[in-house]
């Protein structure tokens, strides 16, 4: 694995995607869980717990998209045009949801309507992101540097399975986030929800993992060929350990551990994805190096990335630290 500029930017974009998935994941999860929470204090507490951070979380999506265009323009064009429908659905859902978030407060008369928009937007966005991921994994037909497939190539049982899995996973992140951030009846409800969602997520992850090696022979070899299997087998082993700790901590009533374990599950999921895909960015044919912009473009961006990303991270970390602890139901503080 050579470590050059394209590889460096591949890591940067993978990091932006991971940051987006786990950060926006828990606040989308809170939206998905909304119908399960009673109207009133519990809903207000839940939304207050993500109010200070959700929009910052979403900015990572812009970073991911903008970064992909800048560093891997070929892959950006191929992936987004192949996945036209789910991408557009995701964007519209996010716009709708973001607006619902703000206007829920400003327009109490129509609050039930905005709540529906908030949940609907969250579910559609999560489903569309999962479908996008699933469709990417099953491969994208390309010819002459452009997408050469049909309009509904993305719609398969596998991509739908990944879509539903991601909805479950985000809901798990959301419920464990609320376990960490809430008290009383909301927290008790979220312990129960998290337990069930934990089971659903593990089952879904197992189904996706079992199906992936059958999509392409390359994936099969990547996971099961000797001696690589000694390395790749660590992922499922770690998943098993994390799962055990997740359920144990939920049973024991821990506040922080369940959320951290849910984060770890997503991290391992992304590692698994990386193992399957590498060195391709658009499977089955376009590698990181095929898709990368020339070194002159990457070098030009390097100072900006090296200076600004650490500062953004430091500030984001600091702000989460400031907001640690439990949230009330009357506006955030």
């Amino acid at each position: 694995m050579p470590f050059d500029l394209p590889m460096f930017f591949a890591f940067i974009i993978a990091f932006a995607i991971l940051a987006y998935v786990v950060l926006d994941g828990f606040d989308l999860g809170v939206g998905i869980l909304f119908p399960f929470l009673p109207v009133g204090r519990e809903r207000d507490s839940a939304i207050n717990s993500v109010a200070p951070v959700w929009d910052g979380n979403e900015t990572w999506l812009v970073m991911g998209g903008g970064g992909l265009l800048a560093a891997f323009p070929l892959a950006y064009g191929m992936i987004l045009s192949a996945l036209y429908a789910p991408i557009i659905a995701m964007l519209l859902a996010l716009v709708f949801r973001g607006v619902a978030f703000e206007f829920r407060w400003r327009d109490p008369r129509h609050r039930p309507l905005w709540d529906v928009a908030f949940t609907g937007g969250s579910i559609v966005a999560a489903l569309a992101q999962g479908i996008t991921l699933g469709a990417l994994l099953q491969g994208i037909a390309v010819q002459n540097r452009t997408y050469a497939g049909g309009w509904f190539d993305w719609l398969t049982p596998f991509s739908l399975l990944v879509g539903v899995s991601l909805v479950c996973g985000y809901a798990l992140l959301g419920s464990t986030w609320l376990v960490m951030k809430s008290e009383g009846s909301l927290q008790e409800r979220c312990y129960r929800l998290a337990f069930r969602l934990g089971i659903a997520t593990i089952v879904a992850m197992a189904a996706v993992s079992a199906a992936t090696p059958f999509l392409r022979e390359a994936y099969w070899l990547r996971w099961f060929a000797w001696p690589q299997v000694l390395f790749t087998a660590q992922v499922p082993v770690l998943v098993a350990i994390v799962t055990f700790v997740l359920f144990w901590s939920l049973r024991r009533g821990h506040h922080y551990t369940p959320f951290l374990m849910a984060l770890a599950l997503f991290g391992l999921g992304l590692a698994g994805l990386g193992i399957s895909l590498y060195p391709f960015v658009v499977p089955p044919s376009v590698s990181i190096w095929d898709a990368a912009a020339p070194d002159d473009s990457l070098k030009f961006m390097l100072p900006g990335v090296l200076v600004m990303v650490p500062i953004i991270l430091a500030y984001t970390g600091y702000s989460y630290w400031v907001f640690r602890g439990k949230t009330g139901h009357e506006g955030y503080h």
């Binding site: 929009d55 900015t59 903008g66 800048a70 323009p73 045009s81 407060w105 020339p294 030009f300 503080h333």
Partner: protein, 477 residues
């Protein structure tokens, strides 16, 4: 339902719709950020309460406008890939990094200074707060700098090479960033944003001056100060903008003469002085302007500074290289017309100021109120002129629009366009409604800033109140 339409046309329509919607908000917030910095600076300098009240009044509106700009911007960063994948592949190595810097600058700002600016007043100290306000003003400018550089490169590409894969690759970054049309476009756009903001601020001031009952007129200090400041701004910037626009036009004539031919409605060449077509309907089929009102030789005077200077027309250009002439022609006239009205407002308000009737001349206030949206109209018309005038190319002279699109299918693009129109109508309609609602209340003494018990934040203004608080008190919130 969309089978009869051309997929590329629909994709262009979708891009035009989403980018126009997106640009409405930044064109307002770029100017407003600077206005806020001026207000806070004046407050610190003079200590007058009214500047602080106005600062807090406009800060609430800024928060909403900035938020909507960010939400509509998410769509833009993906649409290049969904609809214009070939363009993304070919031009990505050059414009991608410019756009990446735009995203980084915006993100950097949102994460850092906006929160302090919105919620940190009284908590971080005056100096630090003013620094944050200045940083936001400078930052919005840099955001505009990068995105306009990318846009200008598409108009007047420079500093590139073409590689084996047919991609534009960077050869000289300095030449790419400061491509020939960029300095003119930057100045023209930033002036446009300042005028847009001044017209909105002036209209809000005028509205409250009109509504105030005569006995309370003198009490409404906030409305008077904002009206006066806005009119002063328009008086200074409107003439400058007309000069900058003229220079930008001359630059366009040098680098994109065909665009100017369409703007002027010059179908044929004029070897001894071209007429200025004031109005008319450019008919592409016959190559004539129907119902035209012309001033002989005036176009040559404006463009070449000589009555008899020859000007080439569209007859020297292959038909397949024409931009859509009527759109460019009329968008240009709408923009110029708005500019002339702004100049008139500038002159009338200057007259009122000299005669000390700035605050008690209802006719002027009605005029200023009616001109409230004029900046947005001019900005959108100006963008239509320059972007439609770039057709039939995405990268001018090098990459045709028809060769830039993804393998698009009309029903799919039509459906997504329809979905965008519906969602934007609801989402940004609601946002605009709340902005107008804020504007309908007059600024009053002891105005409060954005409320802390409501999440009135824009994207990324992470945990602003608590951060500001902990910065101020030196301990954790």
């Amino acid at each position: 339902m969309f089978e009869g339409l051309d997929a590329i046309f629909l994709a262009r329509l979708q891009f035009a719709f989403t980018v126009s919607f997106h640009f409405i908000f930044p064109s307002f917030s770029i100017g407003l950020a600077s206005y806020l910095a001026v207000l806070e600076g004046l407050w610190l300098w003079t200590g007058r309460q009214v500047y602080l009240d106005l600062f807090k009044y406009w800060l609430k509106i800024f928060a909403l406008a900035f938020g909507m700009g960010v939400v509509s911007g998410i769509v833009m960063s993906y649409q290049f890939g969904t609809n214009w994948s070939v363009f993304s592949d070919k031009a990505g190595p050059v414009i991608g990094p410019l756009m990446a810097y735009e995203v980084l600058t915006a993100f950097f700002l949102e994460a850092g200074f906006l929160g302090v600016m919105l919620f940190g007043m009284n908590r971080v100290g005056k100096g630090l707060h003013f620094a944050a306000t200045l940083a936001v003003a400078v930052g919005t400018f840099f955001s505009a700098f990068w995105i306009l550089s990318a846009n200008s490169w598409m108009q007047t590409p420079a500093g590139y090479a073409i590689n084996a894969g047919g991609q534009f690759v960077p050869a000289d970054w300095w030449a790419i960033i400061f491509n020939p049309s960029f300095p003119y476009r930057l100045v023209h756009t930033v002036f446009g944003a300042y005028l847009t903001t001044a017209l909105v601020v002036g209209a809000v001031g005028a509205w409250h001056l009109l509504r105030a009952i005569p006995a309370e007129k003198n009490a409404n200090e906030g409305a008077r100060v904002m009206f006066s400041m806005a009119m002063a701004m328009i008086t200074v910037v409107a003439p400058l903008q007309i000069f900058a626009g003229d220079q930008h036009g001359l630059n366009t004539l040098e680098h994109q003469p065909v665009k100017v031919m369409a703007m002027e409605g010059h179908f044929k060449s004029y070897p001894d002085g071209a007429p200025l077509v004031l109005f008319g309907w450019p008919d592409e089929a016959t190559g004539k302007n129907l119902f035209a009102v012309e001033i002989p030789k005036a176009s040559s005077l404006i463009l070449k500074h000589s009555w008899d200077a020859p000007l080439k027309g569209l007859d020297t250009v292959d038909r397949k290289d024409w931009p859509p002439v009527p759109v460019v022609f009329w968008a240009f006239r709408i923009m110029v017309g708005m500019g002339m009205l702004m100049l008139l407002l500038a002159a009338v308000s200057l007259l009122a100021r000299v005669r000390r009737r700035l605050y008690d001349w209802p006719l002027l206030h009605r005029f200023a109120l009616a001109m409230g949206p004029a900046g947005f109209v001019a900005v959108i018309a100006g963008w239509v002129t320059t972007e439609v005038g770039r057709q039939p190319y995405t990268v001018y002279g090098l990459l045709r629009t028809v060769d830039s699109a993804s393998a698009l299918d009309a029903p799919a693009v039509g459906a997504s366009l329809l979905a965008f129109v519906i969602v934007y109508f609801f989402a940004f309609g609601a946002g605009t409604y709340y902005i107008l609602k804020l504007m309908s209340h007059p600024p009053h003494r002891g105005e409060e800033g954005p409320r802390r018990d409501q999440p009135v934040r824009a994207a990324g203004i992470t945990p602003a109140p608590a951060v500001a608080e902990s910065l101020a008190t030196g301990k954790e919130a």
